[in-house]
C-alpha cells in the first residue's frame, strides 16, 4: 500500500482531525492564559470573552515585577529548584548505583523495603516533620524547604533500573587498575549514567518548582516565598484582576514549560522506563 493512498482514507483523516481538535482543547487554557495576560485591565471581563488582546501590553508584567516584587519569588523558586536538584543527585546517584552493582549484606531486603515505602504518601509525615524542623530551628528557612528532596526513594529506584545495564566488566577493569570504588564511580560510571542523570534532574527540578503544600507550610516569611505560594496569596487578594493574575500564572509556569519542551525526550523516556519496569 502506498503512502499516498493511505493518506486519503477517510478514517485516517477523521483520526487526525480528532487529534488536532483534542490538542486544541487541551492547549486552549494555556494559550488563553498568555493572551489574557497581554490584555489591558478589565478587557477580559466582557461577553463574549475576547480571545486575542485588542492592543497587546506588557503592563501587568511591569506591575508584577516592579510593584509586587515577583522577581524576588522567581529567584527564590529558581534557587530552591536548583539546590533541590543538586542535593537529590548527590544523595540518589551513589545509592541507586550501589543497589544495582555493589554487593553488601541486606541489599535486596533494603531495596524491597524502599520500593514498598513508595506507596506511603509524603503528606502522612508532614506534621511531625514540621515539628522536627521547628525544634531544629529550620522552619522558615531554605534548608527546611529542601529537606524532603534528600529522601527521594523514587530517584534511587530510577537510577538503579538504569545502572543495572552498566556492564560488570567495566567495574572489574577499574578494580584491576587499582582504583577505589568511589574513583570508579566518578570516572567510569557517572559518564555512562548521563541520560538518567538528566531525567532525574528534570524530575526534581520541575517537582520542586511546582511544589505547593510543603513550601506553603514551611516558609512563612514573605521574602522567602516561592512563585506558587506567592501566586496563591496574590490570587486571594486580587480575585477581580483577571489580566494581572494571568500574567502571574505565565511567570510561574512558563519557565518549567520551556525547560520541559527543551528536554522532553529525557522526561518522557524516564517516565516510560519507570512505569514499565516498575
Amino acid at each position: 500500500m502506498s503512502l499516498a493512498r493511505r493518506r486519503f482514507r477517510p478514517a485516517a483523516l477523521l483520526l487526525n482531525v480528532a487529534a488536532a481538535l483534542v490538542a486544541l482543547l487541551v492547549l486552549a487554557p494555556l494559550v488563553w492564559m498568555i493572551a489574557v495576560s497581554l490584555m489591558s485591565t478589565g478587557e477580559a471581563a466582557a461577553f463574549p470573552p475576547p480571545i486575542l488582546p485588542d492592543q497587546p501590553t506588557l503592563e501587568h508584567y511591569r506591575v508584577l515585577f516592579f510593584d509586587y516584587g515577583v522577581g524576588r519569588y522567581l529567584l527564590n523558586s529558581a534557587f530552591l529548584a536548583a539546590a533541590a536538584t543538586v542535593l537529590a543527585l548527590l544523595f540518589t546517584l551513589p545509592a541507586g548505583y550501589a543497589f544495582a552493582k555493589l554487593r553488601f549484606k541486606g541489599r535486596e531486603r533494603t531495596f524491597q523495603a524502599l520500593v514498598g515505602a513508595l506507596v506511603i504518601p509524603g503528606q502522612i509525615g508532614m506534621l511531625p516533620l514540621f515539628l522536627m524542623l521547628k525544634y531544629m530551628g529550620l522552619v522558615n528557612t531554605y534548608a527546611g524547604a529542601l529537606v524532603p528532596w534528600l529522601a527521594g526513594i523514587f530517584g534511587i529506584f530510577l537510577v538503579r533500573q538504569y545502572a543495572l545495564s552498566v556492564p560488570d566488566e567495566m567495574i572489574e577493569a577499574g578494580r584491576v587498575d587499582g582504583a577505589s570504588e568511589w574513583q570508579i564511580f566518578r570516572r567510569l560510571i557517572l559518564p555512562t549514567l548521563q541520560p538518567v542523570i538528566v531525567t532525574l534532574a528534570l524530575f526534581v527540578f520541575l517537582g520542586s518548582w511546582n511544589d505547593f503544600i510543603w513550601p506553603l507550610i514551611i516558609l512563612s516569611d514573605q521574602d522567602l516565598y516561592t512563585l506558587p505560594v506567592a501566586l496563591a496569596a496574590l490570587s486571594r487578594e486580587h480575585v477581580q484582576d483577571n489580566e494581572l493574575m494571568m500574567a502571574g500564572s505565565v511567570v510561574t509556569t512558563l519557565p518549567v514549560l520551556v525547560v520541559f519542551l527543551v528536554l522532553q525526550r529525557y522526561y518522557l523516556s524516564g517516565l516510560m522506563a519507570g512505569s514499565v519496569k516498575g
Binding site: 512563585l227 517516565l271 512505569s275
Partner: protein, 293 residues
C-alpha cells in the same frame, strides 16, 4: 565487613540516613502524635503535652466537617478515577493508532498540562470557569446550555474541580498506557483482524488483556492521587461553597497549620493512609482474583 562492603555502604548510607530521618521517622511519628493532644499550648511548651489514647479519633467521628471531607474525597475518587482512566486510555489509543500522523506533536500537546505549575493553572481555570465571562460557559452557551455557576454552586463545584484535575493529569497516565500499548505485539492484532474481529472485539480481547497490569498500576496511582487533592480546592474554592470541596488533606491542613491542632491533624493523616492502603489492597486482590478466574 570487607573493605569492599564498607565502601558499598558509604554509597547508600547518606541516602538511607536521609530517608530514615526525614521520611520513615516522621511517618511513624504521625501515628504517635495522633495519640496525643498536641496543640498550640504544647507548641509553646512541650510540658503541656498529654497522651490521650484514641480520643482524637473519637472526637473526629463526632465532627460533621470531617465526614463532609471524607464524603467529598470519596466522590472525587469515585468519579475521578474512572474518568481519568478512560480519558487517558482513549488518548493513548488515539496516539497509538497507525493512521495518525505527527504523533510526537500531539503527544507533547496532550502531556503539556501535566508539567505546568498546579497553582498557576488552577488560577487560570478559576477564570475559565467564571459564570459570566468564562470561556467554558461561553462554549456551553454556544451549545445551548444555560450558564453554570461552577465555583459558586455546591452541586457544580466538585465536578468543576474534577474537570480541571482530569485536564491536568490525564497526560501522565496516557504516557504509561502508551508505553504498555507499544509493547503489545502487532501479530496479535493481525491475527484478530484476519479472524474478522471488529474494532471493539480487538480492544476487548487483545488490547485490554495486554494492558491489564498497566490498568491496575494507573488505577492505584490515580486513587492515591485523588485522595491527596489539596492545592486545587485551596486555590480555586478555599473549600467552598458550603464546604462542598473540603477534601481530607485540606481538612488536615486547616486543622494542623491553621488551628495548630497537630494531634487531631495527625489522626486525619493516619486515617488517610489507612484508606489509601486498604483501597490499594482491594485493587490488588481484585486483579489477582480476575487473573486466576
Amino acid at each position: 565487613m570487607t573493605r569492599r562492603e564498607r565502601s558499598a555502604w558509604s554509597f547508600v548510607a547518606p541516602a538511607l540516613l536521609a530517608i530514615g530521618f526525614f521520611f520513615a521517622l516522621p511517618t511513624f511519628a504521625a501515628l504517635l502524635l495522633s495519640f496525643t493532644d498536641f496543640d498550640i499550648y504544647a507548641l509553646s511548651d512541650i510540658r503541656n503535652l498529654r497522651f490521650v489514647g484514641l480520643d482524637n479519633y473519637a472526637a473526629l467521628v463526632e465532627r460533621p466537617l470531617f465526614w463532609k471531607a471524607m464524603g467529598n474525597t470519596m466522590w472525587f475518587v469515585l468519579l475521578g478515577v474512572p474518568l481519568t482512566v478512560v480519558t487517558s486510555l482513549a488518548a493513548a489509543l488515539l496516539l497509538n493508532s497507525r493512521m495518525l500522523r505527527w504523533k510526537p506533536l500531539w503527544r507533547l500537546a496532550f502531556f503539556a498540562p501535566f508539567v505546568t505549575t498546579l497553582v498557576a493553572t488552577a488560577v487560570v481555570w478559576r477564570y475559565l470557569l467564571h459564570t459570566r465571562y468564562g470561556l467554558i460557559n461561553y462554549g456551553l452557551g454556544e451549545l445551548g446550555v444555560e450558564p453554570v455557576d461552577w465555583l459558586g454552586d455546591p452541586r457544580a463545584s466538585l465536578p468543576a474541580i474534577l474537570l480541571f484535575v482530569v485536564w491536568k493529569t490525564f497526560g501522565y497516565n496516557m504516557i504509561i498506557f502508551l508505553a504498555a500499548l507499544q509493547t503489545t505485539s502487532e501479530d496479535l492484532y493481525e491475527a484478530a483482524r484476519i479472524d474478522g474481529a471488529g474494532w471493539w472485539a480487538r480492544f476487548r480481547h487483545v488490547t485490554l488483556p495486554a494492558i491489564g497490569p498497566t490498568l491496575l498500576l494507573v488505577s492505584i496511582l490515580s486513587v492515591a492521587g485523588f485522595f491527596q487533592l489539596f492545592a486545587e480546592p485551596y486555590v480555586m474554592t478555599q473549600g467552598g461553597p458550603a464546604q462542598s470541596t473540603v477534601t481530607v488533606l485540606y481538612f488536615m491542613f486547616e486543622e494542623g497549620f491553621k488551628w495548630w491542632n497537630l494531634g487531631t491533624a495527625s489522626a486525619v493523616a493516619v486515617i488517610l493512609f489507612v484508606l489509601i492502603f486498604i483501597l490499594t489492597m482491594i485493587q490488588l486482590w481484585f486483579s489477582r482474583r480476575r487473573e486466576t478466574a
